[in-house]
């Protein structure tokens, strides 16, 4: 029992960071699933993180209220940014979002009254693993519901073929706007979660490193289904902890190699609804062969649409 408890304590920090990173990845996933490559999650997280830190540190608000405000402010930031960015062609958007991260860092460093400037901010409140898990569960539930909703159908249509989607009466711009807003709220929550897990945030907390790690986690886990980013975030968070226990010198290299291998051999990520669809189709084929009937037509490749019905 005691050993189990020790194990829990030892890895509770990894678990906590896994939960926080899942929120980051889901925020990335939100825009990615609308066919947009954008790193703005990091900016939303910075807004949410510093807002939460100020709410709790300066105004003494309770944790949950601060987290909610962080989410709202993240959403507000995303509305402004999306209005500006959605005019851009997708490739430029990716670059513009990187530029925005660079600018945010300069802003954070030069507004010490809001962010602590170069000193950063100590956050007086610590979120427990349970609180983080509840937060992620709520966010996951939203993604779960969205996946099955009209919005879920529409966003998959936009990702597959925006032009075709528009002929079906789906406005790509509108869908992408919603995707950005969700990304902003979740990003704001992720920032607040990061602030209350690290208990210290600075300009470096929300910089390129996080942007690259989180996009990698999202794609590694699979960016075609909401559960993928969560898996990716946990894998990417736990990997260094595991390699550190075995071969500390190569923990970073191992991370890079795993990412590379998965991208080459499983380019759609670890969780791929299409692969599930294919397996299901194969099963159905088998079954229909057994039944001596060819009534069930298996359609591999059409899984993204097919998935919405299951």
């Amino acid at each position: 029992m005691e050993a189990l408890l020790d194990f829990w304590y030892a890895y509770s920090a990894t678990l906590a960071f896994g939960l926080v990173n899942s929120l980051f990845a889901l925020s990335m996933y939100s825009v990615l699933s609308a066919g947009i490559l954008s790193f703005t999650t990091v900016v939303f997280a910075a807004v949410g993180g510093f807002a939460a830190a100020q709410m709790m540190g300066t105004f003494g608000l309770p944790l949950w209220l601060a987290v909610v405000i962080a989410g709202l402010l993240g959403g507000l930031a995303s509305a402004i940014i999306a209005a500006l960015f959605l005019k851009l062609e997708t490739h430029w958007m990716a670059l513009a979002s990187l530029a925005l991260i660079l600018i945010s860092r300069v802003v954070v460093l030069n507004t010490p009254s809001l962010t602590g400037g170069v000193m950063g901010m100590v956050v007086p409140v610590r979120a427990s693993v349970l609180e983080l898990a509840v937060l992620l569960a709520i966010v996951s539930l939203v993604f779960f519901r969205l996946h099955k909703s009209w919005y879920g159908l529409a966003i998959r249509a936009v990702r597959e073929d925006a032009a075709a989607a528009s002929t079906m009466g789906v406005s790509a711009r509108q869908i992408q706007m919603i995707a950005f807003l969700i990304s902003g709220v979740v990003g704001g929550l992720a920032g607040a979660a990061m602030a209350t897990t690290l208990q210290y945030i600075s300009a470096d907390t929300f910089y390129l490193g996080v942007a690259f790690t989180m996009i990698a986690s999202t794609v590694l886990g699979g960016s075609f289904f909401w559960f993928g980013p969560i898996v990716g975030a946990f894998v990417f968070t736990a990997l260094p902890t595991i390699t550190q226990a075995v071969l500390p010198e190569i923990q970073d290299i191992a991370k890079g190699v795993v990412l590379l291998v998965i991208m080459i051999y499983l380019p759609r990520g670890l969780i791929d609804p299409r692969a599930r669809g294919l397996r299901k189709a194969a099963r159905q084929r088998q079954q229909s062969a057994l039944n001596g009937s060819d009534a069930v037509e298996a359609r591999p490749g059409s899984s993204t649409a097919g998935h919405a019905h299951d």
Binding site: D6, Y9, A13, T14, M119, R126, T205, D252
Partner: protein, 386 residues
């Protein structure tokens, strides 16, 4: 005067040591024999790894010495459990949480960067595990009783050096290279500026640089254009070396003064020709520090790593010696709480290479000040007016 003060301190510390040992011997039995694990969060990789590796190696030397001489008690040995943070706050927090929850870890030591020290301190407090800060220098990091710091806050040493330079060189026009994104170095530079201005020297330029900068041709040109007879460079290590190199390459021949970031032998290996003769202030430097403890430390370090220790290695060494000293005062099965209390109450670290290291409320006070410079041959000597 400096010499006199040094020897006085050496004497004082010898008395302290005698007192400490004298009291310890009859009042306590040693802690139970056995191996005790110390968790060290290191900076073996990452942007400040050059200093980080020195801290780590210094700590290793301390462990070897403590184990072979029984400094933590009869039959008591220490073992370091290393987790490299790469100067990343998130990794340091994870490591600290793991150490805190691992009941086999008796004490921990961490951190060069103040920001990371501030992030891990609350974890040490809530897990009730002693944390010795070995490198970070922001004020008010120690928290009773678990968080202590063996690094003196910067300031007094630069002030002493500035007073001496102002008196001996009588500079008229002084230019300052500051760190725009490191508050501690900036404050140190401001303290020097105050002293130097008081001596009547005019400030001709204040040039701000950033820690991540690498190209200093612009700032160097700007500084030289004001024709200063003394240039103060108070930035983190990479920019300091870069600025000095740019100044010298552009032909500045006046006096440059800087901080202990020049201390590591690796810096001399990298930029030996350019940093020769530039004064900096610190508390420990091979070739100058000659107390018995310093010599023992230097010899052991040299034997192990085939290189001379720098001031960072000395600080890593001190952190472990401090823990061992606290441990030695306990008897029976030592607990984290008892160890923390013993360490918090310590007023002087007995085994130290500085020739005296007073402690007050868990915070090291400024030990003696050495004003030194590198010579052409790669040695460090006390600085003399050229």
């Amino acid at each position: 005067m400096n010499m006199l003060e040094t020897s006085k301190r050496t004497l004082l510390s010898a008395v302290y040591m005698a007192v400490a040992l004298g009291i310890a011997a009859p009042a306590h039995a040693d802690p139970d024999a056995g191996e005790y694990r110390i968790g060290m969060i290191s900076d073996d990789s990452g942007p400040i790894a050059s200093a980080g590796q020195s801290y780590h190696q210094g700590a290793d030397i301390a462990v070897a010495e403590i184990n072979s001489k029984g400094l933590a008690g009869e039959g008591v040995t220490l073992a370091l459990d290393i987790k490299d943070s790469g100067s990343d706050a998130a990794r340091a927090v994870q490591a600290m949480t793991q150490f805190g929850s691992d009941r086999g870890i008796l004490a921990t030591t961490c951190c060069i960067l103040s920001a990371i020290a501030a992030a891990v301190s609350p974890i040490a407090m809530s897990n009730e595990v002693p944390l010795v800060i070995y490198g970070a220098t922001r004020a008010s990091l120690p928290q009773e009783p678990y968080v202590t710091s063996v690094v003196a806050l910067p300031g007094p040493q630069e002030v002493a050096m500035s007073e001496r330079l102002a008196a001996e060189l009588k500079p008229q026009k002084v230019a300052y290279f500051l760190s725009g994104d490191n508050d501690i170095f900036k404050a140190r530079a401001m303290a020097m500026k105050e002293v130097i201005e008081k001596s009547g020297a005019a400030t001709v330029a204040e040039i701000s640089t950033l820690s991540a900068d690498t190209d200093f041709t612009g700032p160097a040109t700007q500084g030289i254009a004001t024709d200063p007879d003394l240039i103060v460079v108070m930035t983190t290590q990479q920019p300091t070396v870069g600025i000095i190199t740019a100044l010298r390459q552009r032909g500045y021949e006046g006096t440059i003064v800087t901080s202990e970031v020049l201390s590591p032998p690796a810096i001399f290996k990298k930029s030996g020709e350019t940093i020769t003769g530039i004064p900096f202030a610190l508390s420990f430097q091979p070739g100058v520090s000659d107390s018995e403890a310093a010599v023992a430390f230097i010899d052991a370090y040299k034997a192990q790593y085939n290189a001379l220790p720098d001031v960072y290695a000395a600080q890593g060494y001190m952190a472990i010696q401090f823990i061992a000293q606290g441990l030695k005062t306990l008897s029976g099965k030592p607990t984290r709480q008892d160890l923390a209390k013993a360490m918090w109450g310590t007023s002087d670290i007995a085994v130290n290479p500085y020739g005296g290291q007073p402690m007050e409320s868990g915070q090291a006070r400024t030990p003696n000040t050495l004003i030194v410079n590198w010579t052409k041959d790669g040695e460090v000597k006390l600085w003399e007016k050229p």
